[in-house]
């Protein structure tokens, strides 16, 4: 039973051995899980979200469990792009999975300088996190409206030599319009969804659980909404779509692929069950064999 034919996936011209990618922020730079699962089997790894100069992240509580989900408020703790280029890139490359750097920022210049620095390494894909609050725009994230999303996409694309995957926020006013704007601005692909803005209250302490009051919701809880958005966006754009949001097993992954996703990312469930991605890859392989598919792409977008 060989993965090569059934699961090999062309994502924006990059060949992945399978369409299963570790989601940014859930897998470090690939080495943390190396003792637990066979990381080399993954189709790709999207590394911890980077900012130009790094960040110590948010103070206070950083995670809160909700029914079938988690709220997180890490605040993009990361060692910075330079550290990634000098130390982490090689580690990621050695995993054998496709290397995806995830880049965020709070002002345009940080994105552009970060993207330029990342030209020094041979990434497979640059994933652009446009869900970060835009300091110049009253803290509204770059991804909330088509105009700002398109502008940052176009400018990063101009300075980057890598394939550009733009990761959308589900909090956008109209995620389909944002997706189309990013496509028009030169994005090579779209990944969605980032976390949903949520909230938790500690009723005993009579205050919000998180210092920032709001936090990002992920996990199986939001999968039905993510799947709907992936379906909508896939119908609206011509570039490849990478689907994520609460994927737990191969059946969820197939649902996203049938909804139009070329590849999927898995995040929250890896925390709960580290073997999740391996099980999904095995499950997709078996699905192809059982259903007589030559390649998983044959069911892409059939809904």
């Amino acid at each position: 039973m060989s993965n090569i034919n059934h699961l090999e996936t062309d994502l924006m011209g990059i060949m992945l051995k399978n369409p299963v990618i570790a989601a940014s922020g859930t897998f470090g730079f690939g080495s943390d899980y190396a003792n637990i699962i066979d990381v080399s089997r993954l189709g790709g790894i999207s590394g911890k979200g980077l900012t130009l100069n790094g960040s110590k992240g948010n103070d206070g509580q950083r995670v809160y469990e909700t029914p079938s989900g988690i709220l997180n408020s890490i605040g993009l703790e990361n060692p910075g792009v330079r550290h990634f280029v000098e130390h982490e890139y090689e580690v990621m490359r050695r995993t054998g999975a496709a290397v995806i750097a995830n880049l965020g920022g709070h002002i345009e210049n940080d994105y552009l300088e970060g993207a330029k620095l990342l030209n020094k390494v041979d990434l497979d894909i640059l994933e652009l996190n446009i869900s970060c609050p835009n300091v110049k725009n009253g803290g509204m994230s770059f991804g909330m409206i088509p105009e700002t999303a398109a502008e940052i996409t176009r400018k990063v694309k101009e300075v980057s030599r890598h394939k550009l995957l733009v990761k959308l926020s589900p909090n956008a006013y109209d995620i389909v319009s944002v997706a189309k704007a990013c496509e028009d601005a030169g994005a090579d692909g779209i990944s969605l969804v980032n976390t949903f803005l949520g909230m938790a209250i500690d009723i005993d302490k009579k205050k919000a659980v998180f210092n920032n009051v709001y936090a990002g919701l992920s996990g199986p809880a939001i999968m039905p909404i993510a799947l709907r958005m992936v379906h909508q966006v896939s119908k609206a754009v011509s570039i490849p779509v990478v689907g994520l949001g609460g994927i737990s097993n191969y059946r969820d992954a197939i649902a996203f692929i049938m909804a139009g996703a070329t590849a999927v990312q898995v995040g929250t469930m890896t925390f709960a069950v580290p073997e999740t991605m391996i099980n999904i890859i095995d499950g997709l392989e078996k699905y192809c064999i059982d259903n007589g598919l030559e390649n998983i792409s044959q069911i892409r977008g059939i809904i």
């Binding site: 470090g28 899980y33 950083r62 995670v63 890490i74 703790e77 809880a221 709960a272």
Partner: protein, 241 residues
């Protein structure tokens, strides 16, 4: 997958669970992520970090002492003999076991990792002296068990366990308990220019260093991951300003 061998209530909300089938047993101060529910159920979603209370290498068993504090540990406590449980671990750095007399200070459920620590210390350095201070809010648990592996046991019910300890000592000091208690111990120790080991607790998601949920501030301003860089730190690393 591991198998539940025993899961008994030993006090209000406190349980002792023994499992078999772990590939590795781990050393004192390390922990496992235990997920009380099956893979296809997601409420609650995360596994729980529970430190090792004891290891029986002959039988291949690992034992955990845990407190029911929420939905996850409540389900954990409802598991029965022969139920399967998903485990990740052993994880974390664990204690340095030094060739020295030692003082152990445990508060509440924080006493858990000190049992295995004392036992291993006694095995490695039988001629060394082991003093243990156990602090509880209302009533003691497992007093006889801790007495059996330490030379001296001091109990404190309802007070500040750290008040009973002479920090101006050559003993190696290990502390595990609520954060205020560990901070108090660190303050006492710093006054006499002594460093001590503290085992931190923090909310975790992955347990392996990937998610940065459990990052803590260190004295030099950087951040460390409780799950991977810890949970055991020198007090000077994490509590000294």
């Amino acid at each position: 997958m591991a198998l539940i061998i025993k899961n008994n209530k030993i006090s209000d909300n406190i349980f002792l669970m023994t499992i078999s089938g772990c590939k590795q047993y781990g050393k004192p101060g390390q922990f496992f992520m235990l997920r009380p529910i099956k893979g296809n159920i997601s409420d609650p979603i995360l596994a729980r970090p529970i430190s090792i209370f004891d290891v029986d290498k002959e039988k291949g068993n690992v034992t955990f002492l845990y407190q029911v504090v929420g939905k996850g540990t409540e389900i954990l406590s409802s598991l029965k003999v022969d139920d399967e449980i998903s485990v990740i671990g052993p994880l974390g750095n664990g204690f340095e076991i030094e060739d020295n007399d030692i003082t152990l200070i445990g508060g509440g459920i924080g006493i858990a990792p000190l049992f295995y620590l004392a036992k291993e210390h006694r095995k490695m350095f039988p001629n060394r002296h082991r003093t243990i201070h156990l602090g509880f809010r209302d009533k003691a648990i497992l007093e006889d068990e801790y007495k059996s592996i330490c030379d001296n046991l001091v109990l404190n019910i309802g007070g500040y366990v750290t008040d009973d300890v002479d920090f101006d000592t050559n003993n190696t000091i290990y502390v595990c308990g609520p954060t205020p208690m560990m901070k108090a111990a660190s303050t006492h120790a710093k006054k006499v220019n002594k460093d001590i080991y503290v085992s931190l607790e923090n909310k975790m998601a992955c347990g392996v260093g990937a998610c940065l949920v459990c990052s803590c501030k260190t004295s030099d301003g950087t951040k460390k991951r409780v799950c991977k860089d810890g949970p055991v730190f020198h007090a000077s690393e994490v509590f000294y300003e």
